[in-house]
């Protein structure tokens, strides 16, 4: 009897399964936390619940059809993923993109960055326990931008609008006015969420010094995007390896100092404002003209070769490694997923914190399972 009691009083490390079905909106991701009392001792992420074989499917279709898989992989920042894919093909094939198409692409990609960060703001606030207020604000603002996307492309989520060489059809006539209006409106929306959360004491106590990762560790783990910038390294592919026409715009790169959850939130909020700035500059500079190159072939054939193209997606560095053996279909299309690399640092960030913080830290990584699992 006495020995049984002793054994019962021994503290046991419990395995808490933050299961594939999340109450928050992160998708099918499983995290097994080993918890001793209240602190997390070990964290093992399990992925693969959303693996759909996008890379393999891309090998079986030609370049125009393969674009659709990019939308469905990165389903919150679709234009950025499509941009990376199209740029990879254009660089490998030596295809010139007309000016107007470049501007349209940049405008849509930056607006998509804003919507993606809005989604982050809403989901993150929900993780923290705000009842849904920040979520509905974020989604209202997203609706304004999505209305533009819907008017231009016809769809609300899987746009399939870019093509290697340009965009598939021209934008609507009221595009410029709507974009200008949305840039102004977005600033109001960002301020709304800002006022609700940024200086809120409860928010601060939940997010300051939680999930810190130092600059050296961030570089070692291969983090990118807002996570890397929040840790203090000022690295943005739009400035350091400019693709498309990003070198024509003036914008700032927000960087954090502490690498904690709060810094990531601040970096993303400021990035939204900078994206609005880029869009405003682009819409003024946008010329008239064709949107596809004149001699665009009906069926695109790429010369043999390989290329690794990387772009600055809202979540980090999204890369496409394309191997072509001539012909209409790629030989190998590998997607370098930003979220997957960011997730490798999860264990380091989570261990030592409370269980409730683990959910918050996961929210701050801002994962999209389609991209993690492809």
């Amino acid at each position: 009897m006495a020995t049984e009691l002793d054994r019962e009083l021994e503290t046991l490390d419990i395995n808490v399964n933050v299961g594939p079905q999340h109450p928050a909106t992160h998708g099918v991701f499983r995290m097994v936390l080993t918890v001793s009392g209240e602190k997390v001792v070990d964290a093992v992420p399990h992925i693969g619940y959303m693996h759909r074989g996008a890379e393999k499917l891309s090998e079986g279709v030609d370049y125009r059809q393969g674009l659709i898989f990019q939308d469905r992989t990165e389903y919150l920042a679709q234009f950025n993923a499509e941009m990376c894919y199209c740029q990879a093909i254009e660089r490998l094939g030596g295809i010139e993109v007309p000016e107007r198409a470049e501007y349209i692409r940049v405008i849509l990609a930056e607006l998509n960055r804003i919507t993606s960060h809005y989604m982050f703001a809403g989901a993150f606030a929900t993780d923290l326990g705000v009842y849904g207020t920040a979520f509905t604000y974020a989604f209202r603002e997203r609706e304004y931008i999505q209305a533009i996307f819907e008017a231009v492309t016809g769809d609300r989520m899987m746009y399939g609008y870019f093509r290697p060489g340009g965009v598939v059809w021209d934008v609507t006539d009221d595009f410029k006015d709507r974009v200008r209006w949305v840039c102004k409106q977005t600033r109001v929306g960002i301020d709304d969420i800002d006022r609700l959360l940024t200086k809120n004491e409860v928010f601060l106590t939940r997010s300051l010094d939680i999930g810190c990762i130092s600059k050296d560790d961030a570089i070692d783990y291969g983090l990118s995007g807002p996570m890397l910038r929040a840790s203090g390294l000022q690295f943005d592919l739009r400035r350091d390896e400019p693709y498309s026409i990003y070198d024509r715009f003036e914008f700032e790169i927000p960087t954090g100092t502490r690498g904690d959850v709060y810094d990531r939130y601040l970096v993303r909020m400021e990035e939204m404002r900078q994206s609005a700035r880029i869009v405003e500059q682009a819409i003024e500079q946008m010329p008239d003209g064709p949107i596809m190159p004149e001699k665009a072939p009906r069926r695109l054939r790429l010369p043999p070769g390989e290329i690794y193209m990387r772009t600055e997606n809202p979540r980090g560095e999204y890369g496409i490694y394309l191997v072509s053996k001539g012909g209409e279909k790629p030989y190998r299309l590998k997607i370098r997923s930003a979220c997957l690399s960011n997730l490798t640092a999860l264990k380091q960030m989570v261990v030592g914190h409370y269980v409730a913080d683990a959910v918050v830290i996961l929210g701050s990584v801002d994962i999209v399972l389609g991209e993690v699992d492809r």
Partner: protein, 370 residues
């Protein structure tokens, strides 16, 4: 006439009909509050709330009630049967009992007790047992952890609540709720005790396990809460009914002792109809404030919850009692209450502000190369 009067003068019959009246009132209030909450939170979130069930969704509480009543009554096979079935009632009945001490007008309450305030606080503290019973009886590791955590939260926050109310009783010089309301004839006590009011509201929000203190619900996301094995009508009693009745009771108490109840500002000469209107208006104001806070704040973590209670609210409560005592003993004029209490509240705000490094924006922004 006289037969009817003597019938109703009988103590038992009198108690019975008052009890039934309060029961009916409680049911109506709970139904109304579910609707009000959903509409109000919807408005905060720029959406409409329920609209389909009846005009403007008025029948939504009825629909919810019907759904809950029709659910299967599940009970884990290994659960302790008596404790499992007792738990919802043990959580709900004390809350209902607190309603019995509240005077709704100058002449009507179920019973006016000399120690009304003490009775209220004492009885409402019994709900903790309901949660512990619920967690224990579920035979679920996570349910038990959640229940113990909720119990810790509720017990901890009782202390600032009791002390804030005690400070107020010192000010009023009585524990009789009627006396307290009458003493606020000219100025409601919130003016003299802003710190006490803040403590009362904070402790009330925690007593209701609402945001920002709804750790129990957050546990359900990760490790389960005390209600994890309860479904249907049991869950409804344990969670919805208790919470809304408790909210109503606490807000009525708050409006009686801090906002002047049915007396301020109109006084007694306007008749019982106006008194009812006043008290319900003030209660609704406090309820809406609680819902407003619910829709705005993120959740506090459980260890932060505890340290907030013991390191911030408790010293403030003691400070309030101490200041009240000083002023009463030395016979200083009334406005010193406002001065000291307001100062203490400001100091508290400053302490919270400085402990959290909000000042320096934690980011560097550098101009881009282009």
């Amino acid at each position: 006439m006289s037969a009817l009067e003597t019938f109703f003068d009988n103590v038992w019959i009198d108690a019975l009909w008052r009890l039934l009246a309060v029961l009916g009132l409680m049911v109506l209030v709970v139904l109304a509050l579910t609707w009000i909450e959903r509409k109000f939170i919807g408005r905060i979130q720029m959406r409409l709330g329920p609209m389909r069930t009846g005009p403007f969704g008025i029948m939504q509480p009825i629909a919810d009630m019907v759904k809950i009543l029709l659910k299967e009554d599940l009970r884990p096979a290994t659960a302790d049967r008596l404790v499992f079935e007792l738990a919802p009632f043990l959580a709900f009945v004390p809350v209902f009992l607190t309603l019995l001490a509240l005077p709704f007008t100058a002449k009507w309450g179920v019973r006016v007790l000399d120690l009304g305030l003490l009775y209220f606080i004492a009885v409402s503290g019994l709900t903790v047992l309901g949660y512990v019973f619920a967690g224990w009886a579920s035979d679920n590791k996570y349910g038990l952890i959640g229940a113990l955590r909720t119990a810790a939260q509720l017990i901890s926050y009782e202390v600032p609540l009791v002390l804030a109310v005690l400070a107020l009783a010192m000010l009023a010089g009585s524990l009789n709720l009627l006396d307290i309301v009458e003493k606020q004839g000219r100025v409601p006590f919130i003016v003299w005790q802003p710190l006490g009011f803040f403590l009362f509201m904070a402790a009330a929000v925690s007593d209701l396990t609402r945001r920002p203190f709804d750790v129990a619900a957050a546990e359900s996301e990760v490790a389960g809460g005390p209600w994890i094995e309860f479904s249907g009508i049991r869950w409804s009693i344990l969670y919805a009914l208790t919470e809304y009745t408790n909210m109503f009771a606490l807000c009525v108490l708050g409006s009686l002792i801090f906002l002047g109840g049915w007396d301020w500002p109109l006084g007694l000469k306007w008749g019982w109809w106006w008194q009812l209107v006043l008290i319900f208006a003030k209660t609704m104001t406090l309820i809406l404030v609680i819902m407003w806070v619910n829709g705005t704040f993120p959740r506090v973590r459980v260890d932060q919850l505890m340290s907030l209670c013991w390191k911030l609210l408790l010293p403030l409560a003691f400070a309030q009692i101490f200041l009240n005592g000083l002023i009463i003993v030395y016979g200083w004029p009334d406005w010193t209450f406002l001065l000291t209490s307001g100062l203490a509240l400001a100091v508290a705000g400053y302490v919270v502000y400085s402990v959290i490094p909000v000042g320096a924006p934690s980011r560097i922004v550098v101009r881009s190369g282009a």
